[in-house]
């Protein structure tokens, strides 16, 4: 029974649309859970600028405030270990998602980012067995998600050597930066760049850079942002453009919430859970576009039953 319990969200960054969608989902689901009397109180905490020290101090503040569980999207997989351990020692359940933590006492709701990178290449290999020149847009240097996705892409490319990565830039998961970096490297690339593999939040920027550089539009893997899907739809209607879109659903925060609630309720949950990423294919484009908020991110929110399924599935 978790009626009297308090859960906190410790979030390390709020400055992009994915995070804002994540916070919105969290707010919506947890408010309802409180109203339904499932838990007593849920609060949200966000640090200013993706700062490790600040988040560590924040976690300690949450320990002090007597939360029963902390759900965390972390600034660093390792550097918060000290604070997480203290939380566990204080008998607090810690559930991490998206930016997961490596501290063994915490629960992880992980997305197989490596798999995500590999899937992008698999999809391209299936659609275009002949392969071709590929541009890679990476995320923020020095962050492990970036490393994981990139590693997945490179492993898959090794399997399909007909795909050749001719350039690689860091787009910082931001449209403006991706656009700028792609525009810079594009002139030095061969004329026939056929594919762009991405990490999310950078597809639209890449498309614009190709357009500005008077290059034929390559097949760009999208990252579930509404503006990306919109662009894709326009291309599809105009010239049967085909691609796929893949990203982690912001609503995974709600899954983390339900998992935390289950654990508090005394259910047995494995320490490491995996959620599938949210993938949109050519066929599902229209439906996804319809359900995605203008300017937002394609999303799924989870229910307690979903959580039970994910936790029990393994």
């Amino acid at each position: 029974d978790t009626k009297g319990m308090k859960i906190a969200l410790s979030n390390n960054y709020a400055g992009n649309s994915w995070r804002q969608a994540m916070l919105k989902s969290w707010e919506k689901v947890t408010k309802k859970a409180v109203a339904d009397g499932i838990v007593a109180q849920v609060d949200t905490f966000t640090t200013a600028k993706n700062d490790v020290t600040e988040q560590a101090a924040q976690i300690q503040n949450l320990i002090l405030q007597g939360y029963n569980a902390i759900v965390i999207n972390s600034a660093s997989p390792d550097a918060l270990n000290g604070a997480i351990k203290q939380a566990c020692d204080a008998k607090i359940i810690v559930v991490s998602f998206d930016g997961i933590v490596k501290e063994p006492c915490a629960y992880r709701i992980a997305v197989n980012f490596k798999q995500m990178g590999a899937d992008e290449v698999e999809y391209l290999a299936k659609a275009h067995p002949e392969g071709g020149n590929t541009l890679e847009i990476r995320g923020l240097a020095g962050v492990f998600v970036d490393d994981e996705i990139s590693a997945g892409i490179h492993e898959a490319v090794a399997k399909y050597p007909q795909f050749k990565i001719v350039g690689s830039v860091h787009g910082n998961w931001a449209q403006e930066v991706a656009q700028k970096e792609v525009a810079g490297i594009l002139p030095s690339l061969p004329a026939d760049v056929k594919f762009v593999v991405t990490q999310g939040g950078d597809g639209y920027g890449a498309a614009q850079a190709f357009k500005a550089g008077n290059r034929p539009t390559p097949q760009i893997i999208m990252g579930n942002r509404q503006d990306e899907l919109q662009w894709w739809k326009e291309q599809k209607d105009a010239n049967k453009y085909e691609t796929m879109s893949v990203s982690i659903a912001p609503g995974v925060s709600t899954l983390a919430f339900w998992v935390a609630q289950m654990i508090l309720d005394g259910k047995k949950v494995p320490q490491d859970l995996t959620v599938p990423f949210l993938r949109i294919d050519q066929a599902g484009l229209e439906d996804s576009l319809k359900t995605t908020e203008k300017g937002g991110v394609a999303n799924t929110e989870y229910t307690a039953e979903d959580a039970a399924k994910v936790a029990g599935g393994k």
């Binding site: 992009n16 804002q20 240097a141 830039v169 525009a183 810079g184 490297i185 002139p187 030095s188 509404q226």
Partner: protein, 319 residues
């Protein structure tokens, strides 16, 4: 006579500090196209022109502030870019008729931020570095609370303007070049420009020469913030919407182009062509390192070493 010519040239280069950033731009560009064996030599310049434009817009404002003399700097530029961009996109709501409202709101935000900055500096005597930083926190919060990270498409007119080209040359770059010329002329020939330069050289002497020191400093901080808000609007137009983090990279960039472009951190000496040279150089440097496939670590180290190298040259010159 060869040596005589060289001496003349050297003297000229010394008196025109912008020459170094343009030479560096040339060097980096040559290195890049040498690596690609000439492929894309023209396009890379066009791309550089497009993206340097945004840095130039904020760089010009930062240049005016830095020219006011030691200690003057505007750290609130990123926050202002984000808030102005978000506000303009949200108010415009992708509708051409509302564009004017959005732009006016953005400009209003710029004016307000500038006034707030100078109020902290003058009335509360908070050092500019901390005053503008505190402002940037507040402005950033406002951007988050107001924008909520929703990416609204710019009005088509704005987007067209921001991405339009005439004979392959970006229209925006032409407009900003025009603006740079205006600022250059203002520096050389307007009361405001001369006042800024005089204050930066010697504030006491400026006061005794009858210059309205307070009014000029106030106007300069407002100008910087307004340019940042303009950057926020056109950047949103260019990249298909405003994002909360779109100003972040312009904090260091604005300061770096000012320093590399030959503007003196000791104040009193501004250089408009240098801002362009430095902005192009910074962009082409990243492009070069991307082309070479340099790792992020090497990239950072190179950037730092170059900034220090440039002030070593410039510092030696002043003694």
């Amino acid at each position: 006579m060869m040596p005589e010519q060289m001496i003349r040239w050297a003297r000229w280069a010394r008196s025109e500090p912008w020459i170094w950033s343009w030479l560096a731009t040339l060097g980096v560009w040559l290195a890049t196209i040498a690596f690609t064996q000439g492929r894309g030599s023209g396009e890379v310049l066009t791309a550089a022109l497009v993206f340097a434009t945004f840095t130039v817009i904020v760089g010009l404002g930062q240049m005016m502030v830095v020219t006011l003399g030691p200690g003057n700097v505007d750290l609130s530029i990123p926050g202002t870019i984000a808030l102005a961009g978000c506000a303009a996109m949200k108010l415009t709501d992708s509708e051409n008729p509302l564009l004017l409202v959005g732009i006016l709101a953005a400009l209003g935000i710029g004016v307000a931020v500038g006034m707030f900055n100078y109020g902290l500096i003058r009335l509360l005597r908070i050092p500019p570095i901390i005053a503008t930083l505190s402002t940037s926190f507040i402005v950033q919060s406002a951007a988050i609370a107001y924008g909520r990270g929703i990416r609204i498409k710019p009005a088509p007119m704005l987007a067209d303007f921001a991405t339009a080209r005439i004979l392959g040359v970006p229209v925006l770059a032409m407009v900003v070049a025009l603006g740079s010329i205006v600022i250059g002329i203002a520096l050389a020939r307007s009361r405001f420009g001369r006042s800024v330069l005089a204050i930066g050289q010697n504030m006491r002497a400026a006061r005794l020469a009858g210059i309205a020191v307070d009014r000029t400093r106030f106007a300069t901080y407002v100008l910087s913030a307004v340019l940042a808000s303009i950057c926020g609007v056109v950047l949103s137009g260019f990249s298909g919407g405003a994002a909360l983090d779109m100003g972040d990279e312009y904090l260091l960039a604005s300061i770096a182009v000012v320093v590399i472009g030959g503007t003196s951190v000791a104040g009193g000496k501004a250089n408009v062509p240098g801002i362009w040279g430095a902005a192009l150089f910074m962009y082409l440097l990243v492009t070069m390192l991307n082309t070479f496939g340099a790792s992020p670590g090497i990239r950072l180290i190179m950037t730092g070493v170059i900034i220090i190298g440039v002030i070593l040259v410039a510092g030696g010159e002043e003694q």
